[in-house]
């Protein structure tokens, strides 16, 4: 626990990397060799490695879940569930060749389950909020509201591509690694998704 205390005392405020810790973590979004080594250290019981993984991936996981689910609280719950599952892997050790992709896959599945459960159970008090997005997230500007509405209008696969690219900051080749697709396929899909998004925004922003 001393290793946990060493790092947590410096960055417990927001859970993100402090400047002195940033040197320990690669600036690249997906550095496989480093991620694999970090994950192996975590599996062997090194809690510091778990904290470094958290600092590297938690922000992306949260942004992805927030934009897919449209709720900060639910995204936070998803993040906690992801880390709970990762810790649970210690009981059944396994070797990963793409830890970042593995974390993203867990997040994606949890978000997908959440969306599915929403379809099954629609609460009466949420219907009005769905019709009026501005009342859902207070403080949101008209532009943000417009883009959010346009994103919601896209298919799940298109939306997640754009979220990973625009919000999480992954490049298309990195997304291809995450989703285990070819870079060309990802570029094509993303281009089409962006085109749809622009079209929707153009329609929505055009005054009647």
């Amino acid at each position: 626990m001393s290793s946990i205390a060493h790092i947590s005392s410096e960055s417990a405020s927001n859970g993100y990397l402090q400047p002195q810790e940033a040197a320990q973590v690669s600036t690249s979004a997906l550095n496989h060799a480093e991620d694999i080594a970090m994950f192996e250290r975590f599996m062997q019981g090194d809690d510091t490695a778990a904290i470094l993984m958290f600092k590297k991936f938690n922000r992306s996981i949260f942004l992805y879940a927030t934009k897919i689910l449209g709720s900060n609280e639910q995204a936070e719950d998803i993040c906690q569930e992801v880390w709970e599952r990762v810790i649970g892997l210690r009981a059944k050790p396994k070797q990963l060749i793409n830890p970042g992709g593995f974390l993203f896959t867990i997040t994606r599945n949890l978000c997908f389950n959440q969306l599915q459960s929403r379809k099954r159970t629609v609460r009466l008090d949420t219907i009005a909020e769905n019709n009026l997005p501005s009342s859902v997230i207070p403080g949101m500007t008209n532009t943000e509201e417009l883009v959010l509405s346009a994103l919601d209008a896209l298919r799940f696969e298109d939306r997640e591509l754009l979220v990973l690219n625009m919000y999480c900051g992954y490049k298309y080749d990195e997304i291809a690694t995450l989703l285990e697709l070819s870079p060309g396929a990802v570029w094509t899909r993303a281009s089409r998704a962006r085109a749809k998004l622009r079209e929707i925004i153009t329609k929505l922003s055009t005054p009647l």
């Binding site: 958290f54 949260f62 906690q80 210690r90 417009l146 883009v147 281009s191 085109a195 079209e199």
Partner: protein, 209 residues
């Protein structure tokens, strides 16, 4: 939807266009309204994402971080417990062996098997000792024991008869009453007249006088 314009815009934003193609694109932008609308939409998207990300950066993840730390501590505790459990299971292997023997012999599982086995062994030993004593005891000792029992029985009958000869009635009650008065006096000696004044003994008079 003009797919070509979208693709052109994507390539421009991705930096895939050469300098001549960039110039051509910018020239087209001045004349093509549809392309201009797309660029405007892209500007809205960028502006929205930047402001949205700024807000999301402010979100506090300390609860998730604390959750992670708690989970790590719990997993370490579970690992320690499992190690202790393995050691404990090794130390109780003798007990387990006894348990299995009990279960095998009597065909009753668990602790019940052990206790049944133990109690049956003890019971058989007691029966064996008792039967051995009975077989080895002489008739004279047995007669002595019988006589003593009969004599004790007679003496108890005599004591009942003596008790019945004691006269019962007022003479027996008087000492009890005296004892009660003595307790009352003692009560007044201790507490005085705090609770109720001590009544002086008076001569018994009929209430109608």
């Amino acid at each position: 939807m003009n797919t070509r314009n979208h693709l052109l815009l994507d390539e421009y934003l991705a930096g895939k266009l050469k300098s001549a193609e960039k110039k051509k694109f910018l020239d087209q932008l001045e004349t093509d309204d549809s392309l201009l609308r797309l660029v405007e939409a892209e500007r809205i998207i960028k502006q929205s994402i930047i402001s949205d990300k700024e807000e999301l950066e402010k979100v506090d993840h300390s609860s998730t971080y604390a959750f992670l730390l708690a989970g790590l501590a719990a997993s370490a505790a579970v690992a320690a417990t499992s190690t202790t459990a393995v050691a404990a299971s090794k130390s109780v292997s003798g007990y387990a062996a006894a348990k299995s023997v009990g279960s095998t012999i009597i065909n009753i599982p668990g602790k019940i098997g052990i206790w049944t086995l133990a109690s049956s062994v003890i019971a058989s030993a007691v029966i064996g000792v008792a039967s051995y004593k009975l077989s080895t005891s002489d008739p004279q000792n047995h007669q002595k024991v019988t006589k003593t029992t009969i004599q004790k029985h007679i003496s108890s009958k005599d004591s009942i008869a003596v008790a019945q000869q004691i006269p019962s009635g007022t003479e027996q009650d008087v000492p009890k009453r005296k004892r009660n008065l003595r307790y009352e006096d003692m009560f007044h000696d201790i507490y005085g007249n705090v609770i109720e004044p001590k009544q002086e003994p008076t001569e018994a008079q009929p209430p109608n006088k």
